[in-house]
């Protein structure tokens, strides 16, 4: 029990950020390419992934690659080569969410750890026990779970459990180009349409003017992100009491400075929890996040303390 130390994971948009978040205290970095992975912070081709592996392994840290897209026939044809390449680079895990990876990996003679992340579908321990029988090495839980449910899952399954502790979460994915479609409908000029991918955009509920849902398009379609940024820095004790193995910070749509600082603050918070941390100290850490938080992004604790009905 005493040697429990949660892994701190951060996303990175490029090799530069891989280095800065590692320096700031991340134990592992999540990277990938939108062709295979969902909501990558930036696109890494295989060469760049190799550079990340080299850098991180040299400082005894891990590299996980997002390969959790909902694949169609065209991409599954590419997966054997892609997986073989990742195995050769000795990445420490591939993050998957489509069952197609199991027959593909079974046919390949490669050594790759599958971390299971089907986003919204990772919600109970029996489901994860099922995927354990398929050989997954880690269960990444859905964001729409309460902390006590997470604790129960952790108790009941054997593979390590990962949750997100900071940043925005994905709340919607469509294969359609919903932003482009909208622009086409309102008939804005071509120039504007071409700019869609370079622009930051958000949606606001027409009757809830205080809302802010980032929206963007990529190869996988349209993604809508949460109204609030998850921030669990004050609540790490409960998460660590549940012995959750890995804690992830999502830096999507945040500045490099923000992501670096967030990683450093959570590093400090986790390390302090190994000893003794006062409520005041927790509050101070939270305040540092509040200070750097963009004006239009509220902080909250997601579903970790929230009931849902159905």
């Amino acid at each position: 029990m005493s040697n429990y130390q949660p892994e701190l994971i951060a996303t990175a948009r490029d090799i530069e950020e891989v280095k800065t978040v590692a320096e700031a205290g991340a134990d592992a970095v999540v990277i990938g390419h939108e062709r295979y992975g969902l909501r990558v912070a930036g696109n890494f081709d295989v060469t760049a992934i190799g550079q990340a592996v080299q850098h991180l392994h040299a400082c005894n840290k891990k590299v996980y690659v997002l390969t959790n897209a909902i694949f169609h026939n065209d991409i599954v044809q590419e997966l054997p080569d892609y997986f073989t390449g990742l195995a050769e680079l000795e990445v420490d895990g591939i993050i998957c969410g489509d069952p197609s990876v199991f027959p593909i990996l079974n046919e390949l003679d490669v050594d790759l750890d599958v971390f299971w992340n089907p986003e919204t579908l990772s919600t109970n321990y029996e489901t994860l026990k099922y995927w354990e029988t398929k050989g997954i090495k880690r269960a990444i839980l859905s964001n729409e779970l309460a902390l006590d449910a997470i604790a129960t899952i952790k108790e009941k399954i054997n593979v390590p459990v990962e949750i997100q502790i900071h940043g925005m979460t994905c709340i919607f994915q469509s294969k359609r180009k919903l932003v482009t479609n909208y622009y086409n409908y309102i008939e804005t000029d071509e120039q504007l349409k071409q700019d869609i991918k370079s622009k930051n955009m958000h949606l606001r509920q027409s009757n809830e003017t205080d809302t802010h849902y980032p929206v963007y398009e990529d190869i996988n379609g349209t993604h809508i992100m949460s109204n609030e940024d998850l921030c669990m820095i004050e609540h790490l004790q409960e998460i660590m009491d549940a012995r959750v193995d890995s804690l992830r910070i999502n830096g999507l749509f945040k500045s490099r400075e923000y992501q670096q600082k967030a990683v450093a603050l959570y590093r400090e918070a986790i390390d302090r929890h190994q000893d003794i941390i006062t409520d005041y100290q927790k509050h101070q850490l939270k305040q540092q996040i509040v200070t750097m938080q963009p004006n239009d992004r509220k902080l909250d604790t997601g579903f970790y303390y929230k009931e849902q009905i159905y």
Binding site: P103, T120, I171, Y182, Y185, M201, R204, S206, Y310
Partner: protein, 408 residues
């Protein structure tokens, strides 16, 4: 393409026992229903075990099958009772269960090993390798994600020997089904456990965020941003799926009305039968398309089957005007000699109304209501009481289970 001997199954939704009977009588080979637990349509009527048993008994008379959707994405607290539930479904004579969550697959395999499992569209099966995965798991049928194209289905059929069920008609999630928690975030209602508030169809403002602040694009264009999909319809293209050997053609809509289900099932039954009667000379009959529009609630689209859906597959601005029809009456009996039908009122109708009778095998004819009598044989001008039994003079023979519709 060589002619497939085996006709595909026409699979219809049934929100309650009455809808089940209409769906089957109008030509569905199978229906899918929800039980009181583990289903995604919390607001549909849903079946008790007794109602399921009656539904199975009714279906058996037609050689039809009853499937039960148990397609929630379960949380820890939802797992209790799953084994008993599946065991009970098997005992009742349910032909298959539609499941998305592997937790429920495990429970079902353990408790009712002979109960067939179909993997739900909520699992977003969009490639042949995933179909292959489920085949290797011993699953006989997968319901495809609505994002796959006709060409992709062709490839799946070529590469994997597994039954494929594909949607042909009805409402669509604009997201990958199961990969949307808008409702959870905006209303605290869990979409994947039956609480979907359809937040995608709400109105939004789209902002472009620049260094100098945000621009409200929707305000400037005076047009709300929304993500509402038109409804899927393959009425004009069904042979494209029939030629591929798709095993089950699925109609969406456990929340839909009896009129909707009877109308839509009737049309697709007719199309399938016409095609298999003579595939080489199959021709679309415009009357079938006309009939489908009588049940339509939104504009229609072929969604992902031929191309990536553009803005034309979405509902923007004012909705298109679609004439709406009511289920005005159900034919209970017919007297050949007097040409008088006994009609149970389902929505108000009156003398002088233009109505249409329709029944299985695409029977339909229009007439004016000339005479109505109440239960006591009294001539009346209007049948306004719900479920009242009336007599109506009809122009052509009708029979029990035929329906009478009236434009709203």
């Amino acid at each position: 393409m060589s002619t497939k001997v085996k006709k595909p199954e026409l699979l219809a939704p049934a929100g309650n026992l009455e809808k089940l009977k209409f769906a089957i009588h109008y030509g569905a080979d199978a229906v899918y229903i929800g039980g009181k637990q583990f289903g995604l349509r919390a607001k549909a009527g849903n079946f008790s075990f007794e109602e399921m048993a009656e539904g199975v008994e009714f279906a058996n008379r037609y050689g039809a099958k009853v499937y039960v959707a148990a397609n929630i994405i379960a949380h820890n607290e939802n797992l209790d009772g799953a084994k008993e539930y599946f065991k009970k479904l098997y005992e009742i004579g349910i032909s298959a269960v539609i499941i998305a969550d592997p937790a429920l697959i495990t429970a079902c395999k353990e408790a009712a090993p002979n109960l067939e499992i179909h993997i739900s569209t909520q699992a977003s099966i969009a490639n042949w390798r995933t179909a292959q995965y489920w085949k290797q798991e011993g699953i006989p049928r997968v319901v495809l994600a609505r994002e796959v194209s006709v060409e992709e289905i062709r490839q799946m059929k070529e590469k994997v020997d597994i039954e494929i069920e594909a949607f042909i008609h009805g409402a669509m999630c604009i997201s990958y089904s199961g990969r949307c928690v808008l409702s959870n975030h905006m209303t605290a209602r869990d979409a994947n456990r039956g609480g979907c508030a359809q937040s995608c169809r709400w109105k939004y403002d789209l902002f472009e965020d620049g260094v100098d602040g945000s621009v409200n694009v929707s305000e400037e264009a005076d047009e709300a941003y929304t993500m509402s999909s038109k409804d899927l319809s393959m009425v004009e293209h069904l042979p494209d799926l029939l030629e591929l050997g798709v095993d089950s053609l699925k109609i969406e809509g456990r929340m839909k009305s009896i009129h909707y289900i009877a109308t839509v099932v009737n049309v697709y039954r007719k199309i399938i039968d016409s095609y298999y009667e003579n595939p080489e000379n199959y021709q679309l009959n415009e009357a079938w398309v006309d009939e489908i529009w009588k049940a339509a609630q939104r504009s229609l689209t072929t969604a992902f089957y031929y191309e990536e859906p553009s803005e034309n597959a979405q509902l923007f601005g004012k909705p298109d005007r679609i004439p709406k029809y009511n289920f005005a009456g159900l034919v209970l009996d017919y007297d050949e000699d007097t040409q008088i039908a006994t009609v149970q009122q389902r929505n108000s109708f009156a003398k002088g109304d233009e109505i249409e009778f329709f029944g299985p095998n695409f029977k339909r004819f229009k007439q004016e209501i000339t005479e109505i009598w109440d239960e006591n044989g009294q001539a009346i001008d209007i049948a306004k009481h719900a479920m009242m039994v009336t007599k109506v003079k009809v122009d052509q023979p009708v029979t029990y289970f035929d329906m009478m519709r009236k434009r709203k």
